[in-house]
Every structure is written in structure tokens, then in C-alpha cells.
Symmetry: C2
Subunit: 656 residues, 2 copies
């Protein structure tokens, strides 16, 4: 009875109900709501903050602790020269268009997407195909205004194919190409029917100014990565000069989105968790690749998309790396680690894919990039990026500042090379050539071996000639220089490492997690449940005393403090509501377990234990229930196991 199967899909996902629960229980809410709000800014309330803190704690364990990464915490405010060097000032931009009449601002790619999807939808309707409304990037609240209305107009078959192909590779278009699409396909601002202007770049960084003089422009970082790179030398030192290693950082970043409208999925301020893993560019193997190579992922590679398809293929990572679909072991290793993390915290494995960026889509610093896309009511959303930034960032900062951001590796065996070199007799040549000497010496230094051998032979014949940088000939005689073989020994190798960067958008992950775990009881659609895994659930155990009466207080305190000492976070609901009502309220908050303290608890020290998804209840001695709870929360026991250990509670017990 306590362990019945649960039908979580009795009712289809109901976004309106879902959003009502999140809002009512204050998982998150528009920031500055009482001031009318600001698009793209959200505050997390108590359950949202706890969920986020638990996701972060698990991320720290899964990545930083498990992989011995070096955690850092760098500043958000950044002086302009850093982002000038990194290329963000010139290129970290989206394309925007303006309504030619009203001046309203729209993001160009979103405009094309919304209009073409609406036309395809209208076509389906006209053809009489029953169709779900297409996934939309629009915020529910603004739906009425912003969703592009689909008019039931049938399109020519080749138009349908053309639109579908455009949509499959939408992220691959440049700004001018998007402008051309708007003209070719008569794409207008759907709110007004007006034409739009040519796409212009809009830089996504928030600007500010540092210090009282107003003379030092600064930006709010749009990613935490530069803070890692600028500290590379110190981090390498901390790691005793050894590679590979990774730095990790969890913190806020800011992007001044053009017109954010997808709830937590597109925001202007967000918490990221970023890893920068530094590797030898000549060796991107990974010591632990063997542990993951049989792991299967749904991969959607670049070529598939460029061919107009969005069909992912299930492949083992070992196979994908062997076939060159994934470029190297380190990238493959991290894709698996990312997948493992996402599934551990409760993402639906059937709604996870890894999509490779197309050539034009990649950020300016990336050599290759795979996104962990997670499916949700808005469509597929990039939640984690995993880019190979190659040596781009370290190289540009090093060139700009003159501070070497390199690894110096003592070679196990020195490399000994022998080559022919010319050694000028400074005195004789200086006397002969005066101020031309330096130029001639440089020419001699740059000569290749065959030329040197020829010159040597010429000199043995009496005289030789070199050509100066300005084209003049200079005659050389044997007393001016010696040419011979010399050996060189190199004992240190110096190189700029490559960087593999897994980068997590925690707000997006939090949102899809909530969607994937929300459902309603089969017998009552009003009773929403959030089946968050215990590891991330905001509260692990709800303690429910029969009433707020003094009688129950000592036991409530005892259970609560025993759980706290075991590291299990509980909360108490001693409100007037019925026990059932209190449990239902906590089902919405994702609290996986509940215990009831009643008169039998006082008389016999028993306590009932309830599981959220099945609503099954067990009964046992208070300390036995606490011990079991600790195991359930830590994942060392399952509910099925719990049902074997304790008797089911039938709702009736003797009280003397």
C-alpha cells in the first residue's frame, strides 16, 4: 500500500497551473514587482533560493571536489581594456532590428523564428492537420500581446521545406543575412505589421564607470571566464606548475538582453558555474576517459543541422570521439560529466541532447562548442555550453599585457639539435660595415642551412656575398666570420595551454528542473506535486505535529534537532490546517518526506513516515524512522527498501 506505482503523466503538463504554483509559493517572482518589474530580472524566494543553493552544493561536490578543481571568486566589475582585448567589446553582440515606424526594438533572429514558425503553424491548420501550438520563446504573461498569430494560410510545399531549413540553421545566419531573410520573406513586426530596419549590432554588456572621475569605463562581466584567465599564472603556480588542471567559479554575470521574454530562460542577470580546464594543445586525452567511454549521449552534430535536420543520434562517447564527431577525449569526458550531473539533480534523461554549434554560430573565442540542450515548454534550451576555447584568451591577454600566460614544462629528456650557424667577428665586420653591421648580422642569423653551406663554400673560395634588407650586396671575406656546426640543448618546453570550458546557466537548469518534475495527482488535477530528488529538494523533511499544542513541542524539537545533527534540513508546519492539507502544500514545495507527531508518538514513541510521490505511509519507532530518513535523504536507501524495513501505516492506531 505504501509503495504503489504512481502515474505522473495522468494529466498533460499544464503550464498555467505550474506557473501559478511557482508564483504562489514564491519559488521566484519578477524583481521590483511592486514597481512594475523589469524584463529579464527575477528574485528567488525561499524555496527557489534553497533549490539553487542545493544545486550549487551538488555542483561543487560533483565537479570541484570530485575533480580537485581550484575554485576562485573574481570580480564582476571589469575595466574596459580587459574586454577590449578579449574581443567582447567588438563582438559580444546580438543583431537587433527596429520597427520602421514605432522604433520598437526586436531581436532579429527571434523575429524571423517567430514569424516563420507562425506561418508553418498556419499552413498546418489550413491543411487540416491537428497541431499543437509551436513552442514559443514568449513569456506566458505577454503571450496575448507578443505571440505571433498563426493565420490559417496554406503554403506551397517548397515554401514549407524552405522555412524548415531556415529554422534548422537559424543560429548560423549573420546580421546582414537575417536582414535579407526579412526582405525576401516579407518578415515584419507582428505587433504592428510594419517593416523593420536593417539589423544592427547591439553589444550585450552592461556599462558603468569606475571611480569618482568618470574617466575609467567598466563593464559588468557577461561570463566569469576572463577572471580565470587573468589569474592563470597564479593558478598554475598554486597547482605546482603542473597541467592539466581546472579552475572553477560560481558567480553572477550580466547580459543586457535586447528584449527578454522567456521567464528564467532569458534573463539579464544570472548565476553561472564555469570550469576552465587547461590542457596541453598537443594532448587532449583525459586520464579518466576510460570510465565514461561506454556512456551514451544523444548527439546532434553540426553537419546534421547544416543539412536541415534536428534529429539527434544516440552514441557512446567512446565511439563519437573515435569517429571525430566529438573532437577529443577531454571534451567527451566533460559532456558525460555534465549529463551525469544533470540527471543526478533530476533532469529527464529523455529531454536532454548535446548539440554542436555551427560555424557562424560559435562565440568569437570558440574553436568547437557543444551545448547541453534541455527540452521544456519553450522548446530546446541551451543550459550548459561546453566550448573548446583553444588558446584564444590566454594568447590575446598575454600579447596585450606582455605577461606570459604559458606553461613551462621541464622536458624529461633534453632535446639536442645540431645545426650550421654563422658567427661574425664583430671587430672586423664592425670596422668594415659600420652602421650596416647589425643589419648584416641579422641577415646571417636568418639564413637557412643550404644558404649557409653555400656561403661557407664561397668563403673557402675567398669571398662570399649577402644581400642586405634594402637589397644592397655586401661582400664578405673569411676573416669576417666562421661558419660551422653547433649543438643546441633544449630542456624546457614552453606553450600556451588550450582551454575546455563547461559553462552552466544555473537559472535555466533550475527552471527546466522544475518543469520536468511538476505533475498533478491522477485523482485530483488541482493537487500539484514537485518530485524533486531529495538531493536538491529545498526541505528534506516536513515535521507535522497533530496540532500546535504544547504537548507536541518537546517531540517536535527532538526530531528536528536529531535530523539537524544528522545534516538533514527539516521544517515544521504547526498551522491549523488538516494534516492532509499540510502535506499537499508541501508536495508543491517538493518536500520528499513527512513525519507526523501525534498522541501515539507521545505514548509509544512511534511516528509515521510519508513519501511524497506515492503518498505511502510507514510507521515505526521515532529513532528508527529518523535513521531511515537519513538514509533516504542521503540516497543510501530507496523508498522500496524503506517499505521492506517498516510496516505500512493503515491510518489506524491504538492510543490508550
Amino acid at each position: 500500500m505504501a509503495n504503489l506505482p504512481v502515474n505522473k503523466s495522468a494529466h498533460p503538463f499544464d503550464k498555467a497551473r505550474f506557473e501559478t504554483v511557482l508564483n504562489r509559493r514564491f519559488f521566484y517572482a519578477p524583481a521590483f514587482e511592486i514597481y512594475g518589474g523589469v524584463a529579464g530580472l527575477y528574485d528567488y524566494g525561499p524555496p527557489g533560493s534553497s533549490l539553487q543553493a542545493n544545486i550549487i552544493a551538488e555542483w561543487r561536490k560533483h565537479f570541484i571536489v570530485e575533480e580537485h578543481m581550484l575554485e576562485i571568486d573574481s570580480t564582476i566589475m571589469t575595466p574596459a581594456p580587459v574586454f577590449e582585448t578579449s574581443g567582447h567589446v567588438a563582438r559580444f553582440a546580438d543583431w537587433m532590428v527596429k520597427d520602421a515606424q514605432t522604433g520598437d526594438v526586436l531581436r532579429a533572429d527571434h523575429l524571423v523564428k517567430n514569424v516563420l514558425e507562425a506561418r508553418l503553424q498556419g499552413d498546418k491548420e489550413a491543411r487540416g492537420q491537428a497541431a499543437q501550438p509551436p513552442p514559443s520563446e514568449d513569456d506566458k504573461k505577454k503571450k496575448k500581446k507578443k505571440e505571433v498569430k498563426a493565420a490559417a494560410v496554406q503554403l506551397a510545399d517548397e515554401k514549407v521545406t524552405e522555412y524548415e531549413t531556415i529554422l534548422a540553421q537559424l543560429d548560423n545566419y549573420s546580421g546582414p543575412e537575417l536582414g535579407k531573410l526579412c526582405r525576401t520573406h516579407d518578415i515584419r513586426n507582428p505587433d504592428t505589421g510594419n517593416e523593420v530596419t536593417e539589423p544592427q549590432q547591439f553589444n550585450l554588456m552592461f556599462t558603468s564607470s569606475i571611480g569618482p572621475t568618470g574617466q575609467h569605463p567598466g563593464y559588468l562581466r557577461p561570463e566569469t571566464a576572463q577572471g580565470h584567465f587573468l589569474n592563470f599564472s597564479r593558478l598554475l603556480d598554486f597547482n605546482n606548475g603542473r597541467l592539466p588542471f581546472a579552475s572553477a567559479q560560481i558567480g553572477r554575470s550580466f547580459r543586457n538582453e535586447i528584449s527578454p521574454r522567456a521567464g528564467l530562460l532569458r534573463v539579464r542577470e544570472f548565476t553561472m558555474a564555469e570550469i576552465e580546464h587547461y590542457v596541453d594543445p598537443g594532448d587532449k586525452s583525459h586520464a579518466r576517459f576510460g570510465e565514461v567511454k561506454e556512456y551514451e549521449l544523444d548527439l546532434l552534430d553540426r553537419h546534421t543541422q547544416e543539412a536541415g535536420s534536428t534529429q539527434a543520434t544516440r552514441t557512446t562517447v567512446g565511439d563519437a570521439v573515435a569517429r571525430g564527431v566529438i573532437a577529443n577525449e577531454t571534451l567527451g569526458y566533460f559532456l558525460v560529466r555534465i549529463a551525469q550531473f544533470l540527471l543526478k539533480i533530476g533532469v529527464d534523461p529523455k529531454r536532454l541532447r548535446f548539440r554542436q554549434h555551427m560555424q557562424n554560430e560559435m562565440a568569437h573565442y570558440a574553436a568547437d562548442c557543444w551545448d547541453a540542450d534541455i527540452h521544456n515548454s519553450y522548446g530546446w534550451t541551451e543550459c550548459v555550453g561546453c566550448a573548446d576555447r583553444a588558446a584564444y584568451d590566454l594568447t590575446v591577454h598575454s600579447n596585450k599585457t606582455g605577461h606570459p600566460l604559458v606553461v613551462r614544462e621541464a622536458l624529461k629528456e633534453s632535446i639536442v639539435t645540431e645545426r650550421t650557424v654563422a658567427e661574425p667577428n664583430k671587430k672586423v665586420m664592425g670596422k668594415t660595415f659600420g652602421k650596416d653591421f647589425a643589419a648584416i648580422a641579422k641577415v646571417l642569423e636568418d639564413l637557412d642551412e643550404p644558404s649557409l653551406e653555400k656561403l661557407k663554400a664561397d668563403l673557402e673560395q675567398g669571398t662570399g656575398t649577402v644581400v642586405g634588407p634594402d637589397g644592397r650586396n655586401f661582400a664578405l671575406t673569411p676573416e669576417m666570420l666562421t661558419i660551422g656546426r653547433k649543438t643546441f640543448k633544449q630542456s624546457v618546453r614552453e606553450y600556451t595551454p588550450n582551454v575546455i570550458e563547461p559553462s552552466f546557466g544555473l537559472g535555466r537548469i533550475l527552471y527546466v528542473l522544475l518543469e520536468h518534475n511538476f505533475w498533478a495527482r491522477e485523482q485530483d488535477i488541482e493537487r500539484g506535486v514537485l518530485s524533486l530528488p531529495p538531493v536538491v529538494a529545498p526541505t528534506k523533511v516536513l515535521i507535522v505535529p497533530l496540532s500546535a499544542k504544547e504537548d507536541f513541542q518537546p517531540l517536535v524539537r527532538e526530531v528536528s534537532s536529531k535530523l539537524r545533527r544528522a545534516g538533514v534540513f527539516s521544517s515544521v508546519d504547526d498551522s491549523n490546517a488538516s494534516i492532509g492539507r499540510r502535506y499537499a502544500r508541501n508536495d508543491e514545495l517538493g518536500t520528499p518526506f513527512g513525519v507526523t507527531i501525534d498522541f501515539a508518538s507521545i505514548q509509544k514513541r512511534t511516528m509515521t513516515l510519508r513519501e511524497r510521490d506515492t503518498t505511502g505511509q510507514l510507521i515505526g519507532d521515532i529513532d528508527a524512522v529518523i535513521a531511515l530518513l537519513v538514509e533516504l535523504v542521503n540516497g543510501t536507501a530507496s523508498w522500496a527498501e524503506a517499505c521492506r524495513r517498516l510496516p505500512a501505516y493503515d491510518g489506524v492506531q491504538d492510543v490508550d
Copy 2:
């Protein structure tokens, strides 16, 4: 032998060595160092990040979990209207002066402080009193340039008293008063000898702009508090409408300091932890005050400072509240909780005091404020503020937005009142007075009881008179109104709560913690030790295999994974350095315990256990040592207890 007393004060605190260690081991470093750095911005490296994360984790336990606070996470970017309402746009400013010739910017109060302190110092030297250099707000690195040189000039006795009095109440001066001090005492820019301009206000908020149009100014929050207040209604709801409760938030804030020069103590971007505790303004008692009332604090109240003294008085909190030195129980309760937290993480109790703000010093929103000041090499530094913000913020936001930020409390017993009221006969009076009726009705409503009784008596005599708002008399007759007793029943009380706000600057706390816990071994001043308590130490246990040889790997993995499963964070040092050298390196990082894995470990499964401060070593079975370590780290066993449980290790053991 393993438990010898340790002399941590054999060498005086050496700031240069201290800073060298922090820098070399990358606790923190100037941000953008390879770009020349930016004053007031710092990055935390691995040990600094871990220390910060551990301080935050302990803060969460000590406050949020222990006191059932509601955690939130609100945005940093804030639209301008919010800070216009809160008063920050007009008043969140410091006074700055400019060098009249060079235009260099200086903070006015710091200028006065530095110059007067230097003169007092010069006076002491002239009087031949051996004197330590006074604590300075300057950064070590810039000391040469920036520290005001003390010229050995003797001052008149009354000048000395005058300067000391000014310094004791420096925080109490307004901008114009600071300007007057500069003129009266000929205070000039010490770098140039030039006069300075009149103090001007400089707003400390960083500005930005939200969205692509540039039409929505925003600020980076200078405190997290407004994010709590704007969500007050949602939080109250979440707490089932009950007061008192507290919200808590840990996050970044930004202040564009005029000329930051004191390392981590004065920065432009910092992590705060803030609590907003909402109370009934009519009842600021605290349910747990009884638990803390015997706790003693060093208090420096407003009156003492205004009298020119900086002498704190040790007082029990119960006594201080009873005598009105601390305004109420809730404020007193939090001062104790703050002190308990600071001591738990390792602040020196002898260097902690609570100082009350003087009247002019208080932030514009505060009704009362106590700072937890911690003494360090820069002098006394405010690390935690504990302000009574009264109903200021909730009131201004509510007035501005029209959204009520109030508590509605069902009264246990309705309050029944009876009073005399006038009820106009609308029809008759309207006909008689026309458009004046509303004004007359309002006058009748506002009349006090005696006036109503008099009017009633007059009417009983035939006619009465009321005076309109414009001074005109209106004659009333009995048919126009009835005057009589009525009963009123009030069942809900509505009020704006007051807010008590403990606000922690985590970077400042982290810095003073490092200073308080740094010392050098008596026998070797070069061997710096950071005696961080295990609860905040970045790494709890160092695992030291005799060498990096394969032989030791299985045991290293076993010990490391057993510790991890018990929740104890360890790290491995398998470098080539000697064991002693490896331990010494980790003494600098504050790692409290170390275990050595050697040939005896392989043969006999024994392991030595070393304590950082005493350098004492014990030896025992591997699992016994692990069990003991878990207790030592969790604080359930002391080192003295450990020495009773396991035999001391004398450095010699039989290996077959």
C-alpha cells in the same frame, strides 16, 4: 609531547610577512593584476574562496537554519526609481575634496583623520615618547607615497586635546563641517601641500543602463536590503502572515569608493550577508532573549564617543537593555548572536567591540545602529552593522508604489469602543448647503467628543453652529442630523513592521580573521602559521604519502575517499618536498591536520596524525585515526582529547 603549549606571540605580528604569505599562496590578489589592477577590486584564489565558502556555510547554519530565516536571492541590477524612493540617490554619498591645484580626489574624513593623526604622532615624537606608528587606513604597498609623514613638532597641550576630541567623533561631522576643519586647522593634501576645495558629495552607487534604448537608468545595489523590502508581502505570505520573522540574503553589492586604499577592508565590490528581521514596532522583545542576557559585550555607546572617549565598557546584554544603552531586546539578541558567530569562526574576542553610531553618522534610514568593530593592523574596522531601520524603507516604498507593505493581524479579542458620532441627514443637509455639504460633513466627522456633546445640547435647544474650513459659520437644525453614542468593533490590527538589520561584510571579516590567526613559530620566524579553526579552514586534512610512488596510491585513495564520505575535505600533497616542508607549506594555508602514509601504513595499517599549532603527532590504526579526525573536524573532540586516545608518535617505528 604531542600536546605542548604553543607560544603564538613569540614574534610580534609582522604585516609584511603576513601579506607575502597571503599573496604567494593566492588567498587573494588585486583583480586585473596583469592589466595593472584597479583600486578596490580583488580576486580570491583557491584558499581564499574556500575560506569564504566555509564562512558562508557556517553563517547559513548559525543564522538561517538555527533561526528559521527565509533565504532569498534578489538581483544586483536595480532600476533607478527604487533607489530614488529609498533615499540612496539623494543621500548615499561620501564627502570628497579635490586638491586645488592638481585636482586629485581625496575622501574628506580620511584626509582630516590622516593629517591630525600624523600631527599627534609628530607631537609624541617631539615630546620624546616612544610611539608606535598610528594605525593607518593606507595600503601597505602605497604606504611610502600615501602615509602622511609625521614631522616631530610639539603641539600645545590644548591642541592635542582638541585633535583627540575631533578624531573620537570624526564620523559625526557633516561635509561643511569637515571643510571648516580643513580651513581652521590648515589641513592640506599631504602629497602636494596644496589646499583642498570645499567638500562635495559623491554618490557611491555605480550607475548603468538597462535595455537597448538607453532610457532606463539603473544602479548596482550598494546593499542587498532593498531586495528584501520589495518582496516583503510575498515573504510575509510565505510565513503564513505571522510576525516576527526574518529574511536573509548572501550576495554581492557595489560601492564606488572615492579612493579605496586598505586592501580587503575598503573595496568597490563585496559579498555581504544581510538579515532583515521584521518586528512589531510596539513589541521589540525577543523570544530567545533569556538565552543570551548574561552574555558580556564590550560596548562603546554614543554618549561616550560624543564626550571624546573611545573607551568601551564590558556589560551584560541584559543590563545594557535594561539601562536603555541598547534600545531593545531584539537588537541586544542579535548583537550577541553576531559576537557568537565571529568568535566561532576564529575572531580574537579581545579585539571585538560594539560601537554605537553617533547621531550624524547614521545612514539616512537608520533609527539606531551598532557596529561590530574588529581591531586589526588598520585600526578598528566596522565588520558587521546592526541597524534599527524602523519602518523607514517599507513606508517609503509603500507610499511610492501604493502597494501596502503592512501586517494585518487578527486581534484575539476584538476591540469594542463606544463613542459619540454625528450622522448627517444627507437629503436635508444637501438641499440646504448644496456644494458646501461635503465640507460640513467632514467638519462634523472630525469634531471631538466634547464639541459633539455641546452641539447636541445646542440642537436640543433648537439650533447649533459649525465653522467650515474657510471660517464661515453654518447654522444647523435638529432635522439635519442625529448625534448619539455608537459602538465600534475592530477585529484586525494593521501596521508597518520595524526592521532590525544585522549586515555582514564578509570580505572584511575574512581579512581580520586571517590577521588574527597568523603567527610565526617561536624557533623560526620564517615559518608562518594560520591557526584557522577547522570549521572554516580551507582544507581540513592534508594527506602526505612518503612519496608519489605507486605503492602508496591505494591507501591515499582509501583515506581520501573515507574522509570524503564522512564529509571531511582533504587534499593530497605527493610532491617531492620533504614531509616537514609539505607540512610547513600547509601550516601557511591553515590546514589543521595532516596524516602521513608511509611503509608502516602499508605493512601495519597505521598512520600518523599531526596537529598544526602544536606540531604534535599521534599514531594509530588508519580507521581509528580517520574516526578521530572526523570528530576533531566536527568539533566533538579536542586535540587534548585526541592525545588521550592515541599514543604520541616519537618519529620512530619498526618496519619489517
